[in-house]
Assembly symmetry: C2
Homo-oligomer: 309 residues x 2
């Protein structure tokens, strides 16, 4: 028996039209009807079929006076042809879905600040409108998230706006203002202390040195000629911070919205006016946002307006 070499249908002259044609012929059981259905003259259809058959080296349909009937090869090939077409349809759907932002993934890097209220609300709103979008949240410091932003792993970073590191050409969009407050557990002995100096005797929880909040806090101390508290913990984990606050007499600087929603914490009447309050998103300057990221940004914007009071 003559063994034929395995076929390569990709390099050759097989066209997608051929697949469409062949399935149409199979569906209608007739070259003529298939031709009508595809809006072309019968000779074109016949020739197309012969082309495929020549490419494959086998007869796909046996011609009869009452139409055509598929051969073994015909039925087999039509199966695959249908599969290919289905795959292409899926590809089309996928692309339009992604382009319309109905589908896709958005990865949000988040700093401590906005994590509490704005982000959950925005995610909820986004999922309500576009259930097809997958949201990935990545917690971290600004410095650790910026590289992710650059290499495309993360679409946008949400949090207190840091001084822009212009080397990477990042863009920043302010969303709302949220004061930073000094807080302690309710019942803390310094609950009514209204000067920074009066708090120096307590242990403090400060943000890591890399963060901009830390830098600004240091400025506050410096402006009043005070040293940094000696007894201090450096920490950004909100769960750890909260536990420490509740179980000890520590003092910390936290975003207002974090404090407001926690009855076990109180804020101390020490003004921190010089600390910047702007919370917003940081975006990669170069790359275009994916549609899904755009949608997320929209929701961050609208949700942030509801926070303003």
């Amino acid at each position: 028996m003559v063994m034929t070499r395995a076929l390569d249908l990709l390099g050759g002259r097989l066209k997608l039209r051929h697949l469409v044609l062949v399935t149409a012929i199979a569906d209608h059981g007739s070259v003529l009807r298939a031709a009508e259905h595809l809006r072309l003259a019968q000779p074109a259809a016949t020739r197309g079929l012969r082309e495929v058959e020549q490419i494959l080296g086998v007869e796909l349909f046996t011609r009869g006076p009452r139409g055509v009937t598929p051969t073994v090869f015909g039925t087999a090939f039509v199966d695959h042809a249908r599969a290919v077409q289905a795959e292409l349809r899926r590809a089309g759907d996928r692309i339009t879905g992604l382009a319309n932002g109905e589908t896709g993934t958005v990865t949000v890097g988040t700093l401590l600040a906005a994590t509490n209220v704005l982000l959950p609300r925005s995610i909820a709103a986004l999922k309500a409108e576009r259930p097809g979008i997958t949201v990935i949240v990545r917690e971290g410091t600004f410095d650790s998230l910026v590289p992710r932003l650059i290499d495309g792993d993360t679409d946008l970073v949400l949090g207190r706006l840091n001084p822009i590191d212009d080397r990477h050409g990042l863009r920043q969009i302010p969303l709302y203002d949220e004061p930073i407050l000094l807080v302690a557990r309710s019942g803390h002995p310094a609950s009514t202390t209204s000067t920074l100096a009066g708090l120096l005797g307590y242990p403090w929880i400060l943000p890591l040195e890399q963060t901009s909040l830390r830098q600004e806090l240091e400025q506050v101390f410096k402006a009043q000629d005070l040293p940094l508290p000696e007894d201090r913990v450096e920490c950004t984990s909100i769960l750890t911070i909260r536990s420490l606050l509740l179980q000890t007499d520590m003092v910390a600087a936290l975003p207002a919205l974090l404090v407001r929603s926690d009855p076990q914490l109180v804020c101390l009447p020490v003004p921190l006016a010089s600390v910047k309050r702007s919370v917003g998103v940081t975006l990669p300057g170069s790359r275009a946002l994916t549609p899904a990221a755009k949608v997320m940004l929209d929701h961050l914007r609208t949700q942030s307006t509801t926070l303003e009071p």
Copy 2:
């Protein structure tokens, strides 16, 4: 947000080349390398990529000075492109497999005669050589199998060759000769009876009227001016026949190979010279045999030569 209409990639000018190109670019991370790999100049590759992007309406790769990197759309689309190509490869394999007879299905209709020895041996030989071929066996009478042969449900019919019903343009190929013998259980009171007339007093099992063997048997009786036995059962089920033979004093006409392999049956010394002995295959005249059927036919041929005694 602007909603794009769902894409139809089948009607448009998307070509399989585009899919190959896009995956090549994704694989090499560079239009230039992809071009080399596909043996064409870089401008051609660049233009091809732009074509796909225009067809899809999105950017698939972001161009960098160090090559290109896929966008969300790029990675998504490449996935589908790969799937399509895999499907086409499978299609090619399937077709060549079928064409080479490595794969596929052969449906054999079988009459009583050859079912016993030739068919099992042939199937065994075929499966040993081509494990990929599926064999379907359909038992029945010649008349019930011919329509299957015509409509393509059955590839070939194996059995005693009937007078060809030429309306359907069937072809017949004789394979070997196998006498028909009159048989009864061993120990039957007529074990040594050597004339047909001497057996008329016993009950008989005869084939159905539709079968050619029945016609020929009737000729045998007629030639000797004998009536058909009055006490008779008409049956083609070999299991039933055998049980009847063993449990009663019935007499039956069976192919030699069926008797030879069954020690509980004996053949009666009554010559049935005029009964045709040829066993073979009947094929549809019009349709071409599938490769799998051809292979089966080859094995039937070679196996039948080993039976000739």
